[in-house]
């Protein structure tokens, strides 16, 4: 099962490598990983998308909690949450494709944020699944470059991850 793990950790040099090292050393999967400081500059928040059985997830959570730099860990996917990922995608936009690209971006509520004679850069935000569908909806030959941030997630309503 796919899980979204949220981690609050000390914003210290090396903290990221401890988490990344844990995943590789113990053979856990990482689909995406994002990290940035929070409103409290001494803390970073990391979101990891991983998959595995319930037993594996239990171990991942326990092992993360064992890291000295980790302050809190939650499995967001255990309850109501929202997730978003941002993608920048550069596509060929010439001739009849130019209009078609614009239309596709509109359908997916993307924004064209860079325009040249022959290319667009489209910015798109949504669940990973939505970004995947957008990619699938385009003619693969027209995609020049994609870059995705990986998933950020947050609990809904009163579910708050804070120190």
């Amino acid at each position: 099962m796919r899980h979204i793990i949220s981690i609050l950790l000390e914003n210290e040099a090396g903290a990221l490598s401890r988490v990344a090292g844990l995943f590789s050393a113990r053979g856990y999967n990482i689909e995406t990983l994002t990290v940035a400081p929070t409103e409290d500059a001494s803390l970073s928040r990391m979101t990891i998308v991983t998959w595995g059985s319930d037993d594996v997830l239990e171990q991942i959570t326990k092992q993360l909690n064992k890291l000295v730099d980790v302050v809190k860990v939650v499995d967001l996917s255990e309850a109501a949450h929202v997730e978003r990922e941002l993608m920048l995608i550069k596509v060929r936009a010439t001739g009849k494709d130019r209009e078609e690209m614009k239309r596709m971006a509109d359908i997916f509520r993307g924004r064209i944020i860079d325009v040249t004679d022959s290319t667009y850069v489209i910015e798109l935000t949504g669940t990973s699944a939505k970004l995947d569908s957008f990619i699938n909806a385009l003619d693969a030959g027209l995609i020049l470059e994609t870059v995705r941030t990986g998933v950020s997630g947050i609990g809904r309503g009163d579910r708050i991850l804070k120190v």
Partner: protein, 566 residues
């Protein structure tokens, strides 16, 4: 008053009541060594290889309740120390390893003797620090000792660049340390403990299975009290030996790959396992699918939540400090504990298994290794500190030396590091200066840290080295004999030194013992006449001796190969 970083290091160690530091100097730690020179509260033990410094500090800790401290220089000093650090990590030993580093302004430039210490050691430490500002030094060291010794203990590395040891700042050693990200659970959940006690009362075929956590948390006394109250059989892991007296009738012996027949059978067929400070690892339960076939309930007490339900599903997890949890259990049992009457039948079954006498061996024309260990046990009255290396001799030591007390058996269980035996014996002796210490080793392992004979001379350490010399990498040979159709690939040790003369060249006493009838007199001589000498006892043993019982890799715990089967 402003003092230098180097002075701060020493002052912090003094504040932590550190008496011994095991180390080896080099460029990046010269300021620290200079400060060591100017004081005499902390004694520095100069080893002959950094690996030995960490091993010695490790055994110093294992054999006492103190924290081991090692000090090494940057680059090769650190890489040499890594084996020691990983060894301590796998067995959860509290250590603080201080490493020199190139100056902060050189870091990242491939400077002379630079290595990424924090990166290299990260996967084999409980935590590590790089101190970039002298103002952080005291607090970091405080944290290092705090982290190493609390929760599930482990080694902590502190990487200190040379310029940080030269710069000055005000020194104040923090009295306490608060870390929002590090608060190990101590007290077990009372509801869970009550549930456990309920299961104990219902059990018909119970077993108490205990590991290194009992030793590390000083819970042996509480465990013994609890076990006696329950009247259940007890089995110890290799790391747990001494947690419950080996000579007690209730003890069914060590379990696992080379466990006793009765221990493995009792563990496998139990309907309730009370696991205490143990982790169901592969050398203990064998094939987990095979183990999982029996219906049973498991109570698991451990300070580390990640040890629970890692390899087997647990019914009643109790996270907490082992002695505190056991204490709670004892209190609840005091209200009048009555074991299920069926436990008496269980004991009859266990006695039948015990009747197989699975540790039987025949003393023939050659000296048998088992015999040497048994005689060593007799001669030392069972009261020596025993260190071992890794191999057959380690298993013989664990099987035949009956440990009645905790912290007497010092070996590398988790990492299985050949070479630890001699430095371990050194560390033990510094922590227990009046106690007899014997190192049971093999001619393969002893050569991995043999240079420490020199350290032993310098500090007059009267260690007794029991070299069970079979001329083979015995444990490797045993596997090749059993699982590789006797293709003895590279398991034969040729060109052995004359160990007697080798020992003598270092200024020690050497003995070569070749006949069974000489074993006991030689041991007596070593422990009386040569009480104050290091004696290297080279026992020429039967090269075909194998360790039994044996659960082959991937087999189930009950699928043991016994000596009698062959």
């Amino acid at each position: 008053m402003m003092i230098t970083g180097a002075e701060i290091v020493i002052r912090c160690l003094q504040e932590e009541k550190v008496e011994h530091v095991f180390g080896y100097p080099g460029g990046s730690v010269l300021h620290i060594y200079d400060e060591l020179f100017k004081q005499d509260q902390i004694k520095h033990i100069l080893v002959r290889h950094e690996q030995a410094a960490v091993h010695a500090a490790d055994a110093y800790s294992r054999s006492s309740r103190k924290v081991g401290v090692a000090l090494v220089t940057s680059g090769p000093g650190v890489t040499n120390a890594v084996t020691g650090i990983a060894t301590a990590y796998m067995d959860s030993v509290p250590l603080v390893v201080l490493c020199g580093q190139v100056p902060t302004f050189y870091i990242g430039q491939d400077a002379f003797q630079e290595c990424d210490t924090v990166g290299i050691t990260r996967p084999c430490v409980k935590h590590n620090f790089l101190v970039k500002d002298v103002k952080d030094l005291a607090l970091t060291l405080k944290k290092a000792f705090h982290i190493a010794t609390t929760g599930r203990p482990g080694p902590v590395v502190v990487d200190i660049p040379k310029d940080v040891t030269a710069l000055k700042c005000e020194f104040e050693y923090p009295k306490t340390v608060q870390m929002r990200s590090y608060n190990p659970v101590v007290k077990g959940h009372l509801g869970q403990i009550k549930k456990a006690v309920q299961l104990l009362a219902e059990a018909k075929r119970p077993v108490i299975y205990t590991g290194g956590g009992v030793i590390l948390s000083d819970a042996a006394e509480k465990l013994t009290q609890l076990a006696r109250k329950l009247g259940f059989p007890v089995t110890n892991t290799l790391m747990g030996l001494g947690g419950f007296p080996a000579t007690d009738k209730q003890n069914v012996g060590m379990l696992g790959m080379h466990g006793s027949y009765e221990a493995n059978m009792t563990m496998h067929y139990a309907d309730l396992i009370l696991a205490v400070g143990a982790r169901f690892d592969d050398r203990v339960i064998g094939n987990p699918e095979h183990f999982g076939k029996e219906q049973r309930k498991i109570i698991h007490v451990d300070i580390d939540p990640s040890s629970i339900s890692k390899r087997v599903k647990v019914d009643v997890p109790i996270v907490g400090n082992v002695p505190d949890v056991l204490e709670e259990m004892i209190k609840l049992l005091d209200d009048g504990f009555q074991a299920d009457p069926a436990v008496a039948d269980w004991w009859r079954q266990i006695e039948e298994w015990r009747g197989r006498d699975s540790l039987r061996y025949k003393q023939g024309q050659y000296i048998m290794p088992q015999y040497v260990v048994e005689k060593l046990y007799e001669v030392t009255g069972g009261d020596a500190f025993i260190t071992s290396d890794v191999g057959q001799h380690q298993m013989f030591a664990a099987q035949y030396y009956k440990f009645d007390k905790p912290r007497r058996w010092i070996n590398s269980g988790g990492l299985g590091t050949m070479g630890v035996g001699l430095p371990y014996a050194m560390g033990v002796r510094f922590a227990n200066p009046d106690m007899p210490v014997a190192c049971i080793t093999g001619e393969g392992s002893i050569q991995m840290c043999i240079q420490e004979l020199s350290t032993c001379k310098q500090f007059e350490l009267p260690i007794k080295i029991i070299n069970l010399n079979n001329g083979m990498l015995g444990m490797v040979r045993q596997w090749q004999e059993m699982f590789y159709s006797k293709r003895y690939s590279q398991s034969y040790v040729t060109s052995l030194p004359d160990f007697v003369r080798l020992a003598e060249s270092y200024g020690h006493v050497g003995m070569k013992i070749e006949r069974p009838e000489d074993v006991e007199p030689a041991l007596r001589k070593a422990f009386t006449e040569h009480k104050n000498d290091l004696v290297f006892m080279d026992f020429i043993i039967d090269p075909t001796a194998n360790v039994f019982p044996m659960v082959a890799a991937g087999k189930g715990l009950t699928e043991m190969i016994l000596a009698e089967d062959l």
